[in-house]
Every structure is written in C-alpha cells, then in structure tokens.
C-alpha cells in the first residue's frame, strides 16, 4: 500500500501542526497561561504521522501525556486541543483533562494518559472489543522507552499475542525517561527485542523517517487486520531538549539540541520535494498555514471562557 501525494502532503502538514502546537504550548506555559506541565512531542512527529497514515479513521489510537502529536496525527482538532491545554470550557475535554488528558473519541483518538503505561492494557481491551465486534478495526498504542519497563506492558504483550489481538504496540524510544538514559534502564539494546520472548514480531525503525515508520506500521496493521495478532514496533528517535516544561531531564548540555541534527520535518520535506510531490513554495505555504492554524487556535483558546463551576460535578457518572 502506498500513500497518495495528497496523503503525504497532509502528513507533512500535520507534522507542522504538531511542531507549532508544541512550540505554542511551551510559550503559553512560559506566559503562565496554564499550570501543571506539558510534554512536547517535538522531534518525534514522523512517528505519530507514519503510524496514523497506516490507519483508517475507524481505527483507534491511545497515547501518553506526550500525546499531542498522536492526537493531531489521528485528526484531532488543534483548536479544541489548545483550549484544553489552557483548561477552557471549549477544550475537547471541557478543560478537565488539560495537557496530559487530551482525547477526541469521534476521530478515534482514545486519549492521552498521565500514568506511564497506564493505557497499555486498556489499549489491549479496546483491541479485544474490535476483535469481538469483528469490524476489522485495529488499535495503535503509543508509549515510551520508560513505559516499556512497567510490568503491565509485558502482561499485555503476552495476552495480546495469546489472543491475537489487532494491536500495534508502538514504543517511541527517545532514549530518555525523564533523566534516565535507556542504557541505564533497559537490559537489551533494542526494545523490539522484547518481542522475542513473547512470540510476536518486533521491529525497530528510525522514528524520524516517516517512510520507514509508515512501511513498518502498514505491515503491522495488515497483520493485525488479518487476525494474526499484535506487533511490537520500536521507533527510535532523539528526545527534544527537555522532558517537559517543568522537568529538564537528562539531555542537557551539548546533547540538548542533538535532535535538531535529525529533525524529521525538514527531512520529510526534502523527501517530498525530491519525489516531486511538493514544490518549495507549496511547502513554505503549508508551513505558514499550519502556523496560522495554531496561532488561531491559541487566540481562540485564550479568548475562551473557563468552565463553569457546575462542571465539577458533571462527567463523573454517566
């Protein structure tokens, strides 16, 4: 399966949306427009887009607190996201979730989760429902190298393989869990190797290479739809300078901007131009438009009202 030119351009556009969304999120945090924290997806854009490009709109995605990228990649609305970030009533979760709990179920984005690995077994359950419903839909679950150390990941790996669930376990290895380097946390060089002990395919790709991610995800999705079960897909990348707006994390000093050397967006841009899919001018226009969408979203979010106090007592019980 190959992507149409249009689809590739849309992926490129969404990469910029993510990048500008995250830059705005950092800026707005600096301005004191919301509290808590935010975990930028900067430098990892190609992974979310590569995976989501392999999915249908009826497929489902779950992600972590570093999940703004997955949300946009799956088609979530940046305005509703930005308002959510600022805790506004117009947010996709009415301001209740904030940065770490974005969700837009109508586009198949079953949300971010602030508990590391807390969503992995849930993703397994969503995939089980898909299997039982027989719709052919699949679930992709994003999580980090750190999350891959939590036991529930292995529990899910075992159950998903045993039950042949239509599940993509996408581990985004950005080398760090806050300050802890993968080499200090994980007993094997590639996280995809974990699959060897569980009897499912484990694949490592360059997470900054859209095409590589897309190709691997397409294979994994096909396998899942065929009923052959899950795939563990490791996307290697380099984390952006900091863990979050609050915590610096370990990639300080010279390492801080290492991600820039392999920034996935210029790389994808170059690819598309070389492929003749995109002209320089159009690329610049897309970038500008994306920035405008995010600027508008930020203005919209800033202008939006805070939730009414009655909202405290809604959405607890159905």
């Amino acid at each position: 399966m190959t992507l149409s030119a249009e689809q590739q351009i849309e992926a490129f556009r969404r990469m910029w949306l993510i990048r500008y969304f995250e830059e705005a999120a950092i800026r707005l945090y600096g301005e004191g427009r919301y509290r808590g924290s935010t975990h930028p997806y900067i430098a990892q854009e190609a992974t979310a887009l590569g995976v989501c490009a392999a999915l249908q709109s009826t497929d489902v995605v779950l992600a972590t607190y570093r999940g703004h990228g997955a949300a946009i990649a799956k088609g979530a609305d940046p305005k509703a996201m930005m308002a959510e970030l600022l805790g506004k009533a117009t947010g996709m979760c009415k301001g209740k979730g904030g940065s770490m709990h974005m969700s837009q179920t109508e586009v198949g984005f079953l949300g971010c989760n602030a508990i590391v690995a807390g969503h992995i077994a849930i993703a397994g359950g969503v995939a089980l429902a898909q299997q039982l419903d027989g719709t052919g839909a699949v679930t992709a679950c994003f999580f980090g190298d750190g999350a891959s150390c939590e036991g529930v990941f292995y529990e899910t790996l075992n159950m998903a393989t045993l039950w042949k669930l239509p599940l993509l376990l996408v581990v985004e290895n950005n080398e760090y869990a806050i300050s802890t380097h993968v080499s200090d946390a994980i007993s094997v060089p590639d996280i995809s190797m974990r699959a060897q002990g569980f009897g499912l395919p484990g694949v490592t790709v360059d997470g900054r290479d859209f095409d590589a991610v897309y190709a691997a995800a397409t294979q994994a999705v096909a396998r899942a739809r065929r009923g052959d079960g899950p795939t563990l897909l490791e996307a290697k990348t380099v984390r952006w300078s900091r863990h979050s707006a609050v915590a610096a994390g370990g990639a300080g000093g010279e390492k801080a901007d290492r991600w820039k050397l392999t920034d996935p967006i210029p790389r994808f841009r170059q690819e598309l131009i070389q492929r003749g899919i995109l002209a320089e001018a159009r690329a610049a226009e897309i970038e500008r438009d994306a920035r405008q969408v995010i600027d508008d979203a930020a203005a919209y979010a800033i202008d939006s009202p805070y939730p009414a106090l009655e909202e405290l007592h809604t959405d607890i019980f159905a």
């Binding site: 209740k96 709990h101 969700s103 992995i120 077994a121 359950g125 429902a129 039982l132 607890i316 159905a318």
Partner: protein, 324 residues
C-alpha cells in the same frame, strides 16, 4: 420462589444480564472452563463460549486494564479478582483509570465495568488473604462499591452493577457463598444507594457491612432476649451510601454501632460514624462505636485470627455500651 446460594444468585444475575446483552464480557483467572475458584461463574463458559467468558493469564493489572478497554469500547466488562487482597495489583486501573477516564475526557466515554472480588476474612487463609479493602475504594470519587450480604441482595445488586454505565467494585464474601436465600422467580434489580433495614428496632442502630451481617443479626437476636431492640441496617452499597436511612434510624435510637471485618483504623466505620455525627449530633446519646478487626495483621492461626476479627460478642458489647 426458589432457594439459591449467594454464589448461585450472583451467577444467575450475571447469566441473565449476559443473555439480555450480547456485548457483555466476563474475564479473569479461572473464570471460564473451571467456573471460578469459588464457582461463581460456573456454567457461563458453556453457555456463552470462550470469547465472552475469558480465562486470562495470571495478571490482575492487565485483566482490569483490558476490562476498561472493553468497557470504553462499548462492551460492558465483568472482571474477577480472586481475593480482594489482590486489588493491590490492579490499583492503577481500578483507581486511576476506571473512575477518572470519563471525567478527564469530559464525558466522551462511559466505563461500564464491574470488578468482582471476594472478601476472605475469617477463613484461616492468613495475612495476605484476609483483607476487606472497601475503605480504599470509597475514598476514590467515581467508583461505586457494593457489599451484598444475602443471596437476594447479591443477585439484585450484581444486575444493577452490570447495567450501570460506571465502574463498580462488587465485593463479595467467601463466607457467604454457600449461604442460601429465597430468590424470586421473576427478574428483579436492587437500586444502588438504598440501604436495607435487615431488622427493625428502636434502641440501637447497628450498621453492618457485607460478610459480618449474619453475626450482626445474631447479636441483635441475642440482645432482643435481653430486652434491647437493635435496628440492623445493611447499606448494601457503601458508595453511594444511603446515609439518610442510617441518620433517620439514629434519630430514633440515639445510638450508633458500625461493624465491619475490615481493620478499624481508617475503615468505613469512621466515615459512616462521622457522617452521622455531622447530621445527627444532637440526637446521639453517646459517641458512635466501631466494631472491626483489630489493627494488627491477620494471623493464620485460628485462635489469633478469631481474636482479631469482630464477633457477635463484640457487637453485643458495643450495643450495650450505651446503657447506663
């Protein structure tokens, strides 16, 4: 009317709901072919098949997590944890996920989840298999917590739990599994948040939770012979709690005893007592009294276990402590 055991009553309730709603899935350790370590899911595998009655690997966190995934994807899920002590392995899904997802996603999903798990107190299983942990769960907004004490209640409440679009922890009692009760032939459900007055009385209000109910009723009978008329209230659901029924009773009796097999300190007894004190302070003849497990780990040795757990004599003494 027929007589069923408490275990059979739960089984029948689940079975009826699974017949009504083809989406429901049961999952847990040994729940399928074997019918559950205590036989509560017996026969469901044969009737509904392996897809809907799923034997899981031994991993509580993933079982409950997976059940949440089913639930938010539109499939009501009933997960079993073999002893309530093992909720410790699933506290993230039970407390950080199930009761919060709907809220932090602004109402975009509902979570029709039932976590069934039995309390084992008093059976000699020792320190790690004897805890009644409802106090942890009532402290978590968004969770409902059910503690049936009779076969009749168990059936009506499990059906309500399964139909509830919200997460429910259904705390059964191993010591009650074989207790028999009359079950109507026709279908019925019991609403959450409605206490049941298991025995009417005017002198003392005795609130008893789940597995201690038979002993509470026994204490009340023995006290009746001594001329003390005890009203025994079964909240049935501790979240939501029907505090009105309890307060109304205390306004009549002026005296409150709360009994549970959970440890005293930090138990639900304190919560119920304080809510009553907040609402009926002037009606109280004296401070509410708690009858509960001593604040020590529960030993395997029968003699020590018995001394740790609340008993009939303890409840009687508490009910009499108000008399001058």
């Amino acid at each position: 009317m027929r007589e069923l055991t408490y275990a059979q009553a739960i089984n029948e309730g689940i079975r009826e709901e699974m017949r009504h709603n083809g989406k429901i899935v049961v999952l847990g350790e040994d729940v399928g072919k074997y019918g559950g370590v205590f036989g509560v899911t017996r026969g469901l595998y044969d009737e509904f098949g392996a897809a809907r009655v799923r034997d899981c690997p031994l991993n509580e966190a993933a079982i409950v997590g997976c059940a949440i995934g089913l639930a938010i994807a539109g499939r009501p899920a009933i997960a079993e944890l073999e002893f309530m002590d093992f909720t410790t392995f699933a506290m993230d899904p039970i407390t950080n996920q199930a009761p919060k997802l709907r809220f932090f996603w602004g109402g975009q999903v509902s979570v029709p989840l039932v976590v069934r798990t039995p309390i084992a107190a008093g059976l000699g299983f020792g320190t790690q298999h004897s805890q009644s942990l409802e106090a942890w769960l009532v402290h978590v907004p968004g969770l409902k917590v059910v503690m049936p004490s009779t076969a009749y209640d168990a059936k009506g409440l499990i059906k309500t739990a399964i139909r509830d679009p919200n997460p429910v922890v259904f705390a059964e009692s191993i010591s009650l599994y074989s207790a028999r009760g009359e079950i109507p032939d026709e279908e019925y459900v019991i609403p959450f948040g409605k206490a049941d007055i298991k025995r009417k009385g005017d002198d003392v209000t005795l609130v008893a939770l789940g597995p201690i109910m038979p002993k509470a009723l026994q204490a009340a009978e023995e006290l009746a012979q001594q001329g003390v008329d005890v009203e025994v209230i079964d909240p049935r659901t501790v979240a939501p709690l029907d505090i009105d029924t309890i307060v109304n009773s205390v306004k009549k009796t002026g005296r409150l005893v709360v009994a549970h097999v959970a440890h005293k300190t930090g138990g639900v007894g304190a919560e119920i007592a304080q809510q009553v004190v907040e609402r009926a302070f002037d009606s109280l003849d004296g401070p509410p009294v708690r009858v509960a497990a001593a604040d020590v780990p529960i030993a395997a040795s029968q003699r020590l276990e018995q001394a740790t757990l609340p008993d009939v004599a303890g409840m009687m003494k508490a009910c009499l402590s108000f008399r001058q």
